[in-house]
């Protein structure tokens, strides 16, 4: 589904955002992308959206090599990718329904498709009753649900989320994660860049960790930090938000060699 092959991206030739990164993500996977600020998570997402092109290396997405994709093909690539951001990016003067419908209108879907799909996806995110509200009248969590509905309404193959719970309180965040999990179960590949240690620990999904642009960990059922990863490896099973968030310092612990995950080419 997604494959990075020795991808390097620098900004202005000096700041390294991603260094020789190789990783493979299969269809239907649920992946957390973790790392401190400036570790390259957002660059990873932007490369997938083809908002950036790497300095070197190749990226495959949904069977296509996207680094050399001609400009005019980019919109068609993006139709296979839904994305969600920390700041929601809703249009403030459109209602919930219109915001979601906008994503379909823009790609030229006929009216009858819009009027059947949008209520369906609003139902999925639990906002059927608020379809005529404006984003400003909703809570942060609800706004993020609208954003997820908009990202998912087109049934994309991949859903990217850049800090989707960054602006939300822990309780609301759980709801958002559950929703993303549900979407993942429909077969959509979900990639979440996050700082939310509790969430990562609770979900026990594949974790890819970046540190200063280098892929330092790729773990099948990982947790956010090193210590809890060790605990997990020792048999401990952190449950939910009770797990203490652990520091995410520089990682170079030898016994944390990335685990072999079937079908996943690990970094380094």
């Amino acid at each position: 589904m997604i494959r990075f092959e020795n991808v390097t991206k620098t900004y202005k030739g000096t700041t390294v955002a991603l260094r020789d990164c190789s990783v493979e993500i299969d269809k239907g996977e649920f992946v957390f992308l973790v790392g401190s600020s400036g570790s390259g998570k957002t660059t990873f997402i932007r490369l997938l959206l083809r908002e950036e092109v790497p300095d070197s290396g190749r990226i495959w997405e949904a069977g296509k090599e996207i680094v050399h994709l001609p400009r005019w093909r980019i919109p068609y690539l993006r139709r296979n990718i839904g994305c969600v951001f920390q700041d929601f990016r809703l249009l403030p003067n459109k209602t919930v329904f219109e915001n979601v419908a906008f994503a379909l209108e823009v790609i030229g879907r006929p009216k009858h498709v819009i009027s059947s799909q949008v209520p369906q996806v609003l139902d999925l995110v639990g906002l059927a009753k608020k379809r005529d509200n404006l984003p400003g009248e909703l809570s942060g969590g609800e706004q993020q649900r609208v954003a997820i509905a908009r990202a998912f309404v087109n049934r994309p193959l991949i859903l990217l989320a850049d800090e989707p719970t960054g602006n939300l309180d822990p309780r609301t965040s759980i709801g958002i994660m559950r929703l993303l999990d549900r979407i993942n179960r429909t077969g959509t590949t979900v990639i979440i860049a996050t700082h939310d240690a509790g969430m990562v620990d609770q979900m026990r999904r594949r974790v890819i960790e970046l540190d200063h642009g280098v892929l330092v960990r790729d773990q099948a059922r990982g947790v956010y930090g090193i210590d809890s990863a060790v605990a997990a490896a020792g048999g401990g099973s952190p449950t939910g938000l009770t797990v203490e968030p652990t520091p995410t310092g520089p990682v170079a612990v030898p016994d944390l060699e990335p685990r072999a995950v079937p079908g996943v080419a690990t970094g380094s």
């Binding site: 959206l49 908002e51 005019w72 919109p75 068609y76 690539l77 993006r78 139709r79 994305c83 990016r89 809703l90 249009l91 003067n93 906008f102 994503a103 209108e105 823009v106 790609i107 030229g108 908009r150 087109n154």
Partner: protein, 294 residues
Amino acid sequence: MPVSFGYVSREAATNLWRNRLMTVAGILTVAVSLALVGSALLLKQGAATATAQWQQGVNVIVWVAPGSASSQVSAIGQELGAVGYVERCTFRNQAYDFAESQRILPADLASEITQSDTPASYRCVLTNPSEATALDQQFSGKPGIVKVTYPSQQIRTMQSVIHVLQWAFLAVAVVLLLSASVLILNTIRMAIFARRREVSVMKLVGATNWFIRLPFMAEGLVQGLAGAALSVIVVLLLYWRLGLGTVQRASTSIFAQMHMGLAEVAGTCIFVAIVGVIVGVAGSALAVRRFLDV
């Protein structure tokens, strides 16, 4: 992906209405700028026709004394016809000249003239206007001839003044056109800047560039057209108010010397309208471009 006409017009209409103030600002910018451009062009054309008028008018008038015998009058005519550099001469009788004087002269003067006082005349066109002096010397003082009048140095001065004016008007028009384009571009860009969020969301969900661009261009088209329409009204008002449509009034005003047909005015208006449309559409396309580069 085909972009439906319905979508583009609907989107453009809602956006124009939603950003009413910007729309009005855009239209007024186009209107004011193009009205100035149109006026400058009109005056330039006026200057051109005024020059043509003068050049056509470079003819010598030989005034025949009132009450001369008709044989003497025809003798003068034959003599004029015999001069080599005279291309042709037209005889105007007293009735014609009287009517003309009534039309040209200020009312108080005109009322004191009677038809019998008015001299008849030969209007002569010369092959070379510079021979006018020679003709004057040859015929002045002959029996039956009151006076020979012809365009003198003043006219040539006038011509060069008009020539300079023409270029000045053209330069003003070009400068105005440039500044109008920049103003319009800036106005449209501000309107688009206010909606960059929307554009970025459209890009994100996979809208093609044309899909994003076309409604903006349609808006530019509407603004350009509306602005051009207003400026055409201003140009037409100017045309009528300055009396540029009427032929040569007796006035020392330079505008009196300018006159032009409706065809020329229509040409100016069409030019202004086309410029308005181009500036609106191309301006929008240009202004939206930077927001499409994601």
